[in-house]
Symmetry: C2
Subunit: 135 residues, 2 copies
Amino acid sequence: MISGKFAITIHILTLLSKFPDEYLSSEFIAGSMNLHPVLVRKEIANLKKNNIVESKEGKNGGTRLLKSASNISLDAIFKMTFDTVTLGFSKNEPNPDCPVGKQINKNLENLYENINEKISLQLSGISLEDFSNKF
Amino acid sequence: MISGKFAITIHILTLLSKFPDEYLSSEFIAGSMNLHPVLVRKEIANLKKNNIVESKEGKNGGTRLLKSASNISLDAIFKMTFDTVTLGFSKNEPNPDCPVGKQINKNLENLYENINEKISLQLSGISLEDFSNKF
DNA sequence: CATACTGTAATAAAATATATTACAAATTTA
DNA sequence: TAAATTTGTAATATATTTTATTACAGTATG
């Protein structure tokens, strides 16, 4: 299942990149995406864990980038918000007595691994700055 | 949200490719993946719509491939079971008064379009036969 | 010390995917 | 031709996952 983590995170970072010298509040950010501030703070917690942003608590607090947008690749964002892209697996423990059931998930996994490599390759060539410049 | 359509469909097709001259019942197929036969028939309905398989109703009925496994690409399966791969969108109508909110989904869409092209390119180089030979 | 933030856990609601039931229609074969 | 077996499909139920909300403790500012 695809959650909005990547989209939310890239949205947050794009906003932060537009105001690199200010602390933006989760409420302000949430207002741009019509989302609950708590969800924004949750993704910010993840960004902090990855040393992409820093936050300041208290009045006039908020969040800002720790690195320049040109030094943040979309692949880094992908990796910190997505496990992997998949097209799905056989979920109910496929029949181990069937040669296909027995191996299907391993073979799908190999297939998806290649897909993720391609995606990473592409995203690693795009910086947050590149993305942000489109706005 | 990722549904199991692709995985179920490729599983069905792999089984059919192993018995190209037989009509396999949805119950037999479901047994290999531990899934309800109705779900198998649903995906088979989709395969029929795309002229990949044919079914025979009634006793001793079932489903078989209409084309050789070497002529079915994983990309074709991808296209008939997946809308597109995405890393998510801003869902709640982002704020149109914010330059970022206003354009975020369009820009994400462009990004994902490139990803889907890469995935298609990769999958179009793999046939059902190639995949099936791994079992 | 009041105000305006972050941080985070707990819970609720909504959306989506998966499973089941039910039964009509078709085909085989005894 | 009747019983058995299978597909086709709609309707419904259950489970899972996402998303939203509530609540409140902790922290910095002025």
